[in-house]
């Protein structure tokens, strides 16, 4: 059965958005995880500073990927969206809680530093870095099992309370930690901070190994829980899976020999390929095996509208995003800044400046007078008429 090409293109764009979310926001979450694991205030100071300088300027932009993903789903694949949101109400609410707390932690972190709530705010920020990727992973895993269906109402606990969904959650956390560490290796390298390069390299290596192990275990679980996706993963989608595995393994080697840019690229390829593999393994289903693309997609005009939106994204968002990262990578975006010079200048100015006064008292009096005169005349005229 062929699928409408527009639906396929929007579907690909959706997976690309998810890959971007995994890479960019994944690095944010990873930063939060390493922040939590950085130890006490004294010991963790240097890594935390590095994480802050790398994550903060781009946080705002990264945040939006998931929103783009959501609107794509509910416009292009509305029935699947409704089913997922109903069946997986609980894990999605928890993921949302994580995203919310993450943002709050981010927004107030710098202020919180000053009023000595640092510890608790930092912990909040970091704990949410586990919550969000874990439950987003659970959601993805639950959809793969095929237990999210359009014909079920209410919460469906067995869709996500199963080994493979939970394992997918754990896998997402490990992957975020890995991506975050790789990103931080690169940034520390650029800043010439050898100590931090070593620090994050070690962690990238560890997280990479854990991610690989989790992925292996999850494949076993998928065999039981998600037969359709499993069979396509080791069938049609196998090449992509292999690309991902090879890239992942290469990246581990690159960490050891410190090839920073190559490392980032291969890590990106590993993540991108695994997202693509998952998408291809689900094809042609939105919800395996109960809702196919054809049955689940919106009318053509809506899909075309989404294609226009994607073109708009390519024209407006992608260049801006590249510009943002270009500035960040060239250290043009600075989280702190001093205004001492300005404060002094203002003080001087206020001392000397006599404020210019140009009151038009006469004009004002004339206008008031004229208005009063008009009112009076009007009143008199009325009385006469009566």
């Amino acid at each position: 059965m062929t699928q409408p090409w527009q639906a396929v293109v929007v579907g690909i764009a959706l997976f690309a958005t998810m890959a971007a979310y995994a890479l960019f926001t994944g690095a944010d979450f990873g930063g939060g995880i390493w922040d939590l694991l950085a130890g006490g205030t004294e010991r963790g100071r240097r890594p935390r500073t590095a994480i802050d300088a790398s994550v903060t300027p781009v946080w705002e932009g990264n945040q939006t990927w998931i929103v783009l993903g959501i609107v794509l789903v509910f416009t292009a694949f509305p029935t699947a969206f409704a089913a997922i949101m109903t069946s997986l109400f609980v894990p999605l609410s928890l993921a949302l809680l994580g995203i919310l707390l993450r943002g709050i932690g981010f927004a107030f972190r710098h202020e919180a530093d000053r009023v000595r709530t640092e510890q608790s705010a930092g912990a909040l920020f970091a704990a949410s870095s586990f919550l969000a990727p874990f439950f987003l992973g659970v959601t993805v895993g639950a959809v793969a099992t095929g237990r999210v269906r359009t014909d079920r109402t209410g919460n469906v606990p067995d869709a996500w309370l199963n080994p493979s969904a939970l394992m997918t959650g754990a896998l997402f956390v490990a992957a975020c930690a890995y991506i975050g560490a790789v990103y931080l290796v690169g940034d520390s390298h650029r800043r010439g901070d050898e100590g931090m390069v070593r620090y994050f390299s070690k962690r990238a290596l560890a997280a990479g190994v854990v991610t690989g192990v989790f992925a292996g275990i999850n494949l076993v679980f998928l065999h039981n829980d998600a037969p359709y996706v499993f069979h396509r993963l080791v069938g049609a989608a196998l090449p992509l899976l292999i690309v991902s595995i090879v890239a992942g393994a290469t990246a581990l080697g690159l960490v050891l020999i410190r090839r920073v840019w190559l490392l980032r690229i291969t890590a990106g390829v590993a993540v991108g390929a695994v997202v693509a593999a998952w998408g291809w393994a689900q094809y042609p289903y939105l919800l395996p095996t109960s809702l196919s693309l054809r049955e689940g997609s919106a009318p053509t005009a809506s899909l075309n509208a989404e294609l226009v939106v994607l073109v708009m994204a390519a024209v407006f968002v992608v260049p801006s995003f590249v510009y943002l990262y270009w500035l960040q990578q060239h250290e043009k975006l600075v989280v702190t800044e001093e205004s001492g010079d300005l404060v002094r200048a203002v003080a001087r100015e206020n001392k000397t400046a006599a404020r210019p006064k140009r009151p038009h008292r006469v004009l004002e009096a004339m206008v008031i007078g004229a208005a009063a005169w008009e009112l009076l005349r009007e009143a008199v005229a009325r009385m006469r008429r009566k």
Binding site: E60, T86, T153, F316, V317, T336, E337, P356, P359
Partner: protein
């Protein structure tokens, strides 16, 4: 089984509506700043660069710091909303997503652009060239307006759904243009944009009005008051005039909502206009009634007929009539009050180039931000509660749209708790910032010959 599911859904609808209302009511305040705060900031920034004006430049810098916090809260609360559309109203999205989703997708693009350039602008103060940096703020103004356009178009689509064909409960054809530019769009979008500029402007000005009252009458506070007050004040008269047309449009497009706004129970002419008051069993208590005036407002004549809610079967009638009516009156009263305030400042500025010194001006000015926010929130109550029992006007009932999942009461409590805490923090943090900034300013130089040296005046210590 079916009835069990039915009662379950009935139970979810009240918490779900409360949660949606709370989340939106919270988000919209930050959204207003996202839309309208960049403009006064860029004006101050422009002045600072163009005239080498240190006060203006310092204002722009500090405003951008506050904006960083506000924008982050706006972004996460917006993300919460986009989840909630599905978590709370799966039937709405599942059925109408192909139409209703289009404006949201376009909104996504503009807010993405806005988020990116916010980051560039916020963190670019030190290393970007000054005018290039100023220009990175311009996309904020544009994308804010375009984004607001799209999301309010989504809301007006709920009020006047159009641009789709429904067959067997599924949308089969969509006309995206007709979705975006439905009959309510030309009324709601400008009204909301003006409201956003009023909220952001009056709220910011209010902060400096307090400083002014406390005797901090320097150029810094003068500019800090005037720039946002003027942007908001210019909008005030336009808003009131435009609001009047909005009301007439509502009378045409959603007569039952209008009936609730004006306490019109049965269709008749010579309708009394009620100011305030409470409607109980066909009588209005405590209200000030102006005979015939409602008919005159609607049709320019006492003989004009106004449709009442009794023209509809009971289950299609608006609920919570008193809330809708009082919210509408509150919005109008506050709109007119803000107009008067703006006119006062306009007058004094025109003739005396000054800020009125009397408490009779300054105290209301210090409250103007709160008033604008209240007016805006009540406007939304009119729109949303007045549309009930429909989510999509005349197409989908709210009670049919709600999720079948249990658990909404829990998320409702969590939402209320988190947003309550967050509200306190959002107020506290700028207050702390301001206190710190004040401490780094040498004390008011009035007469004092030697201001204390400001050696370690920093806005931010290096990150830890």
């Amino acid at each position: 089984m079916l009835t069990a599911i039915g009662t379950l859904a009935d139970h979810a609808v009240i918490p779900a509506r409360s949660q949606m209302g709370a989340s939106l009511g919270f988000h919209i305040i930050f959204a207003c700043f996202g839309i309208a705060f960049p403009l006064p900031m860029l004006v101050a920034h422009w002045r600072g660069l163009r005239h080498d004006d240190a006060s203006a430049l310092l204002l722009a810098r500090r405003w951008s710091k506050v904006m960083a916090v506000i924008f982050a809260v706006g972004a996460v609360s917006g993300t919460v909303l986009s989840f909630e559309l599905g978590l709370l109203w799966p039937t709405l999205m599942g059925t109408y997503g192909p139409a209703y989703g289009i404006p949201f997708s376009i909104e996504g693009i503009w807010f993405f652009v806005e988020a990116i350039f916010t980051a560039v602008y916020l963190y670019g103060w030190r290393k970007l060239r000054p005018w290039l940096h100023w220009w990175t703020g311009v996309p904020l103004v544009i994308s804010g307006i375009l984004g607001a356009f799209s999301v309010v178009a989504a809301n007006s689509w709920m009020n006047q759904p159009s641009g789709f064909t429904l067959s067997h409960g599924r949308i089969t054809h969509v006309n995206p243009w007709a979705v975006m530019f439905n009959r309510a769009t030309p009324w709601e979008v400008p009204h909301m944009l003006l409201a956003a500029y009023m909220v952001a402007g009056f709220t910011t000005a209010a902060v400096y009005a307090v400083g002014w009252m406390r005797g901090r009458r320097d150029r810094y506070h003068r500019l800090g008051f005037l720039i946002p007050f003027v942007t908001a004040g210019v909008c005030a008269p336009v808003q009131v005039a435009f609001g009047d047309s909005v009301a007439r449009a509502i009378e045409q497009q959603q007569p039952l909502k209008f009936a609730a706004m004006e306490f019109v129970n049965r269709t008749h002419s010579h309708v009394t206009e009620w100011l305030g008051g409470i409607y109980v069993n066909g009588k209005v208590y405590f209200g000030l009634g102006i005979p015939d005036f409602d008919s005159i407002l609607v049709g320019y004549s006492p003989d004009a007929k106004v449709i009442g809610w009794r023209s509809a079967p009971p289950r299609d009638r608006p609920q919570l009539i008193n809330l809708v009516h009082l919210a509408f009156d509150l919005m109008v009263v506050l709109g007119i009050a803000l107009l008067v305030l703006a006119a006062w400042q306009g007058w004094v500025w025109w003739f005396r180039r000054a800020i009125p010194e009397t408490k009779w001006f300054l105290i209301p000015a210090a409250l103007s931000g709160l008033a604008a926010i209240t007016a805006m929130e009540s406007g939304w109550v009119v729109t949303e509660v007045g549309r009930q029992p429909w989510v999509v006007y005349r197409m989908l009932r709210t009670s049919d749209a709600v999720t079948t999942s249990s658990g909404v009461p829990v998320t409702l409590v969590a939402t209320l708790l988190i947003y309550a805490v967050l509200t306190c923090v959002v107020i506290l943090v700028p207050w702390l910032m301001a206190r710190r900034w004040r401490n780094q300013r040498p004390s008011p130089p009035e007469g004092a010959e030697s201001a204390p040296p400001v050696s370690d005046a920093r806005d931010d210590e290096p990150v830890r």
